[in-house]
Structure formats: C-alpha cells, structure tokens
C-alpha cells in the first residue's frame, strides 16, 4: 500500500500555518448537517468533541465509563509541557520540537512534532481560560517545573493532579455542549465494530454495557480517541478498563497499525508486591526533580537504606548521565534500573526495585516545601506500601505506562481509511520511539482542541451533506451480526479457565519476551507461545452470565480476545525492527556503553502493518521518515 503522509511542502516552521489556509472549509450552515462520532472522552476525545460541537457540527460522544470525566487521562499526575518560555531559560518552539524529536530517538514525524510544539502555547491559554487551577507564584503568574529529557522548565502543573484538572476542563467544555444540544452523550457504551461503507468509515456498532443491547450509529466521520493498548501486558499503570478493542477492530477493518512495539516503560512506579496485584501505580516523574535514584554499590547488600553510608551507594543516573542526572528520559532511566537489578543490586524483598531518595531535598528545602510539591504522591505511596517516604526512600521499579504506537494517521490525523480520524494516544504520530514526560497531555489536547477541528473539515467538505448512510444499511446489519456472533461465541465456550488467568499468562509472555529488553530469540519464543494460548482461550475460557445484561466478565473477555491477537502484532513489529531505538532495546544492537544503537539506513521509517487475517503474517508498509530540518544524531544525555 502506498502511504501518503500528506505533509505540506515548504519550510518546517510554516507548514502548519500554510496548511491551515490551504485546506478546505465547511461553511457554517453546512456544519450542522454533518454528524461526527467521537469514541472516548479522555483529553483528546473530550476536547475534540467539545471543539467540534462549538464549530456547529452534531457530535455523538461515546465512552465506556459512567461519566466522561472518568477517562484515564484523569490519572496523569506531573504536568503538561508548553514552549511559553515564561521562565526566561531559553525555551522556544524549536527547543520543545527538538527535545521531542530527540527524546523519541528520531523515529517520529518531523512536521507533526513541530506543529505540536507550536500549538502547545495555545493549550495553556485555553486551559487557563477554562479555569484550570494551574500552580502559580504569589504574584499571580503561572509557575513551572522541570521534567525528564529537557534542560528547561516548561512543565505547567496543578499539584500532582494535572491530568485530572485538564480533563475536567475538557469535560466541562463538553458538558456545556451537551447542555446546548450540540453533543449527545452515550456513557457506558462500548464500541465493538467500525463500519466501513464503500471504503469510508461511516459508523460504529456499540454494546450498551447496562442492557447488553447492540446497536448501530452512522456518521459522516468517525474519530477514535480510545487511548493506548498497554493493558495488553496485563500489569500496567493504565486504568483497568482501558483497552485496545476500538482500534483493534478498526485495524481488522483495514486501518493500518503503526509501530506497535513502541512501549513506554515508566521508571518510577511502585514495585509489584504479589500475584494478586491488579495494576501498578505510577509515582510522577516530577519526583525526579528532587529525588535521587540509587542502589547499593555491592551486590546483595541487605542493609536498610539508612544503614548504607554514602560511599556504599551508587547514584547510577547521576554517574552515567552527569548532564541530565536524575532527569534522564524515561526509556534510559528504566533500562538503567533494569541493569542494576539484573546485577543483583536491586532493593526490596523481590530485588526488583531501586531507591528514590528525598533526604537531600528535605535537608535543602525543608519538609514543608517537599510536602507542597509532592504531598499527594507521598500520601499515595504511603497508602499503598504503608511506608513513610519522608523518613525512608521510596522504592520504585519500571512499569508499562504508555504506547507510542497506534493507528497510522497522516498529517491531518486521518487514517488510511477515509473518514476515520485517530487522536491522542490511540494514534502513533508524535512521540517516536519514546515519549517525554508531560507530553501526552500536550498531544491529546493539541489533537483535540487545535488540530482535528481544522483538518476534519478538509474531509467533510468532500462528503455531500446528508449523504451519510442510514444505520440500517446492509454494512451496519452485517457488523451487528458479527458483533452478536462474537458475544455468543464467548459465552458458549463454558471452559475451565477465567479470563483473568489468560490475561495474566499473556502479560507474562510479553513482559518477559518483549519488555524492557528484547532479543531475536526472546521474540521468536513469544511468537511460538502466543498462538497456542489464543487457541486455548477460544476452547477453554469461562465467561459466566448472559449477553443481555451488565456482564463485566463478558466485557473483559472481548478485550482479552483482542489482546491475544494484538500481542502477536507487537512481537512481529519488535522482531522486524532489527535495531535499538528509544524504548525498543534489542540487545543485539547496543553501543559499547550499553545505549541504543539505531540503524538509520535501514529503519528510519514508520512500520505500518496491514491486517491479513488472525494468525496470518500481516503485511508491512513503510512510511520513510524524511528529516528536512533535524540532523539525525546518536542520542546523548551524558
């Protein structure tokens, strides 16, 4: 398949401005004749639905939660980046652009990233106007903090609840449009199929999670804002309900899936404590501003942290990366933690942990300052571990946190299926092989507030008003039938193993074979293990209850069935990409000091996979990454 990213011509810095003036518009009296479906109500989905409605489009907004306010963007803690340069520390749109490209290890699309940096400043303005209570100085001005992978302070924050506050801003904008009748809300509804009519995305099939009723909704365009697929790994920092079903069903209907193996493993999470564990909890990266990461120098040193003298400690991030120190990017910090644990120097009962120590910061700034900055995180740590991080260092370990991969989109955020737009974490476009901290919130809101509302008009202008199919068209009936069959099939297995058992088993395969470090051997082993597990699932899964009721086992079963297919694609991609870049660390390809060794000659492209059938090898399509502005370099944070 020939992939056209539709990147505008001209100098990088003027591409977006020029593009905005060149794309087609829909006149105001026609806007009200179009219907747009937005699936998902996180930062990207809620901001898009609200902004499209403000423009005059009729919007249908779907979410699986009981309220749009609960989408998992709500859990983002640390902050949101913007190139405001309020700190006068040398920040600029170019620097934010370059940091993001470099942070992504030169595997993202230059033009998209530059646009992201450009609109970052508008996001802060918009959110302030909505009443998002960002942290401020006594003078009333906005304040900033630092984050990993940057040497400027450009992160705006609302205590440790930035995601919550930004999401509430977008949610409130959305609810205003619901009140005005411009958005119809469909909570507790799960999209189970994408409907494609004559090659264009024209609707979805959903299951009402309360009654089990399956119904169709048609539209002139469909926007997927359904987040990432990190829960494929079972344990992650994602919400328990976050899932891949919407994007996976779109993939199976012909949308390409790009860079599926780019998995962000966040360095500062609370370590796993037992097999019963249902999720992992992140401790914000902002803690690395003041916390120092260390492990004992000696292998197997079982002394308590207070008993280990300064000389016997290895502040390994400061040692290895003197210029970024504890603020090295996430992929590098995670891998460094894995290395010291592999060497037997990990801490805690399991040996899978490192210390994040605030004693120096408390000495320097006083406890009250640390409390004001991170109090809620210290509280959260205490609730989970029953330890007081003001007295003893936190124990942290890397965990699955974000997926840089996602459905392939062009510069307009449209997938290869005309009419299907994909925004936020669900697409692949801006973070390359590693996302910098405080950039997910930025991208979600950039897509929803400032990119999609412009670019969707370019497609709608080609669609005659009123030409969308009726939801009883043949394609819809067929998609409903497929959905019903699938539900019945899951309920009819009556096997012996629970859905969770399958999910945990799959998660272990992925974490061990396709986690922080990958080899050809481990990936081939995973490819041998996944298909039999999938076959066993369809023969031996036990899904209690019925289809026509609220049935959480059934909901989970459908999602795990998708993970069992998606996992294989993740591994295919990791095996194909025979280089190391960002989060994707192939042990065969490392520099003498253990850093990623990219292979730009062969792999400077986006891998966009095309579905050919379950269990069949997908087709690899390549979008070459052409860098007009940036010179590709070995990434260094030393």
């Amino acid at each position: 398949m020939k992939l056209d990213a539709k990147i505008p011509l001209g100098p990088l810095t003027s591409k977006w401005d020029k593009h905005k003036t060149a794309i087609r518009l829909v006149n105001p009296s026609n806007k009200r004749k179009y219907e747009i479906i937005v699936v998902g109500t996180g930062l990207a989905g809620a901001s898009a639905a609200a902004s499209l409605a403000e423009l005059g489009y009729n919007v249908k907004s779907f979410c699986i939660q009981d309220s749009p306010r609960r989408a998992h963007s709500v859990a983002a803690q640390g902050g949101i980046n913007a190139a405001k340069n309020y700190q006068n520390d040398g920040d600029s749109v170019y620097r934010l652009f370059y940091d993001t490209i470099k942070g992504g290890d030169f595997r993202s699309r230059e033009a998209n990233v530059h646009r992201l940096a450009e609109v970052s400043v508008n996001i802060i303005d918009q959110c302030v106007a909505q009443g998002v209570p960002f942290a401020r100085e006594y003078s009333g001005y906005l304040t900033n903090r630092s984050f990993g992978g940057a040497q400027v302070s450009r992160t705006f924050y609302a205590r440790g609840q930035t995601g919550q506050q930004l999401l509430l801003g977008a949610y409130q904008a959305l609810m205003r449009q619901v009140g005005l009748g411009q958005v119809t809300l469909f909570p507790r509804m799960e999209m189970l199929e994408l409907v494609v009519v004559n090659g264009h995305a024209k609707g979805i099939v959903v299951r009402d999670m309360v009654t089990g009723a399956i119904s169709s909704h048609s539209a002139d365009a469909v926007v997927l804002a359904t987040g990432g697929y990190g829960n494929t790994y079972y344990l992650s920092t994602y919400g328990r309900g976050s899932n891949a079903t919407a994007i996976w069903r779109a993939y199976k209907k012909g949308a390409l899936f790009a860079n599926p193996c780019f998995t962000q493993i966040h360095p500062t999470c609370i370590p796993v404590s037992g097999d019963y564990q249902s999720k992992l909890t992140l401790m914000s990266e902002s803690l690395r501003n003041d916390g120092r990461v260390w492990v004992p120098k000696k292998k197997g040193d079982k002394r308590s942290p207070a008993e280990i003298p300064e000389d016997d400690r290895d502040y390994y991030l400061e040692r290895k990366y003197p210029s970024y120190g504890n603020l090295a990017p996430r992929d590098i910090s995670s891998r460094a933690a894995k290395q010291v644990c592999d060497e037997g120097r990990g801490v805690g009962e399991t040996g899978l942990g490192v210390y994040l120590d605030f004693s120096d910061a408390i000495k320097r700034l006083g406890r009250s300052n640390i409390e004001e900055r991170y109090g809620n995180l210290f509280d959260m740590y205490h609730e989970i571990t029953h330890e007081d991080a003001y007295q003893t260092p936190m124990r942290i370990f890397p965990a699955i946190h974000y997926m840089m991969g996602g459905l392939w989109v062009d510069y307009n955020l449209m997938s290869n299926l005309p009419g299907l737009y994909v925004i936020g974490e669900a697409n692949f476009s801006d973070h390359g092989a590693n996302r910098l901290g405080a950039s997910a919130l930025m991208q979600g809101l950039a897509d929803g507030y400032f990119v999609l509302p412009y670019t969707i008009g370019d497609y709608l202008a080609t669609q005659k008003p009123g030409s969308r199919p009726k939801p009883d068209a043949g394609e819809f009936k067929q998609a409903e039938q497929e959905t019903n069959d699938r539900v019945e099939k899951l309920l009819a297995v009556h096997g012996k193993k629970t859905v969770t058992e399958f999910h945990k088993q799959l998660g272990r395969i992925l974490w061990e074979h396709c986690g922080m470090a990958r080899t050809e051997k481990s990936l081939k082993e995973a490819l041998a293990l996944i298909p039999p597990l999938r076959e066993e699932f369809w023969k031996n899964v036990n899904v209690p209850g019925e289809g026509e009721e609220l049935n959480q086992s059934l909901e989970r079963a459908g999602r795990v069935a998708d993970y069992l297919e998606l996992a294989e694609l993740i591994v295919y991609d990791a095996l194909m990409r025979d280089e190391s870049c960002g989060c994707h660390f192939r042990e065969e390809h490392q520099t003498p000091d253990g850093e990623c060794q990219r292979n730009d000659e062969q792999y400077a492209y986006v891998a966009a996979w095309e579905f050919t059938g379950v269990g069949k090898t997908p087709i690899l399509n390549k979008e070459p990454l052409v860098y007009e502005e940036v010179h590709l370099a070995q990434r260094s944070y030393k």
């Binding site: 901001s47 859990a75 209570p133 942290a135 809300l185 959260m380 058992e501």
Partner: protein
Amino acid sequence: MNVKLRVWRQRDAGTPGRFETYEAKDINPNMSFLEMLDVVNEDLTRRGREPITFDHDCREGICGMCSCVINGEPHGPENKVATCQTYMRSFRDGETITVEPFRARAFPLIKDLIVNRSAFDRVIQAGGFVSVSTGSAPDGNAILVPKQNADLAMDAAACIGCGACVAACKNASAMLFVAAKVSHLNLLPQGRPEKEKRVLAMVQQMDEEGFGACTVTGSCEAVCPKGISLNFIAKMNRDYFGALLGVGGKKANTLTGA
C-alpha cells in the same frame, strides 16, 4: 488473613436485592479491597457462580468510578481515600465486612454495587463550566490569579465526583459536590462573569435530580476521599443568596453561554 463478606446482590433495579455471604480466605493484608473482591470473583467464576459486579477503573483514587459502602461507611474505614485505595490491613482477621452500593434516590441502582450517578453530569451540564470556546483565550499570564485563590480553587477542584458525599448524607444531599464545582469556578476571575447564573442553575438542577436538603451535619466532608471542606458549602450559600438578590437586575442580562 480470612474475612467473611456480606455483599448486596441485586440483578437490576426492578428485582429485589439481598445480602449474600462469601468467605475470602488467605487474603494478603497488602491487597487492596478491590483486589480482594477480584480474588473472590475469580473463585466465584471457577465455581460457576456469577461474580460480584462493581464499578472501578483507575484504582489509584482519582477517577471517582469506584463506590461501595463498606461497613456502613462510603469508601470504607480509612479517611481521605477511595474504596480502591482501601487496603485489607485496615480490617481484622476474621472480621465480617458488609458491602453495599451507594444508596440515594438520585443514584438509581443498576446492578449489585453499581449505581447510576449521571445526575452529577447533568448538574455540571447546567452550569459547571466557563463558557469559553476553543481558540478565543488570551495569553495564560494575561489573567493573574493570586496564589491563595488559585490554591483554594484547586482545593475545591480536587473533587473526583464519586458521590460518597451523597451516600453519607442522611438526606442524600449533593451540596458538597455542587459547592466544590461552584467554588472552584466562582473563586477564579475566569469564572466570575457567570458566577450568579452558574450557582442558580446548578442548584436548581441539583434539586430537580431529587437530591435532599443540606442540614450541614458534615457527614459528607467526613467521608470525602479528597477532603473537600464544608466551608465550600458556606461559600456556595453566600454566592446563591447573592445571586438571588442580583437576578432580575443588570447582572442577569450580561450572562453568556448555556
């Protein structure tokens, strides 16, 4: 540790519910309460019985999806945490734990421990926003907010919309929830132009949803997982009476938005 659970089971709003008893054995005290329910549900599933249905998502106390009244208290025995942040070490070995849904007329039951809290969304829809469309905002630093106001607004904005305040109140009043949003926005200069209209509209919607009256007993504040202060109710009352006096005058004509 071992505990006995008395759990409210109800197929749907139209079918009578009842307590059922389950044994939870070999529970690790470091499990969260919801992880303990996961373990019980796995066991029920294996034995061919229907698992207990409950709402949950982030499991880190921020999404507000989890609910449950545990031993008579919304979100369980610990202060300032949600059910998902309640750990089994808060219970005694051998204890019988009673688990019920939030009960309020405005929160109709859906199934087992799940209730419908969409009334909260409709209260926000009535006025819990600043009417600013995308693209029209001035520079972020063009609007100065004194730190103490910003901090106070943030204290109110921390509400996760879980509904524990309603479940704890003998009148099932939603005053703390509504007051938190009214205060968050009314404290900020961005929210001031719509201040009167906002408080009137949100209070009216709150009443229409069937929430009860507030007698300021403070049970809401006591169970709030985010520690939202009762002071915000006082602030909302002040805004409300101010708005009542102002309505019909000049201010009412300057209102924008919904």
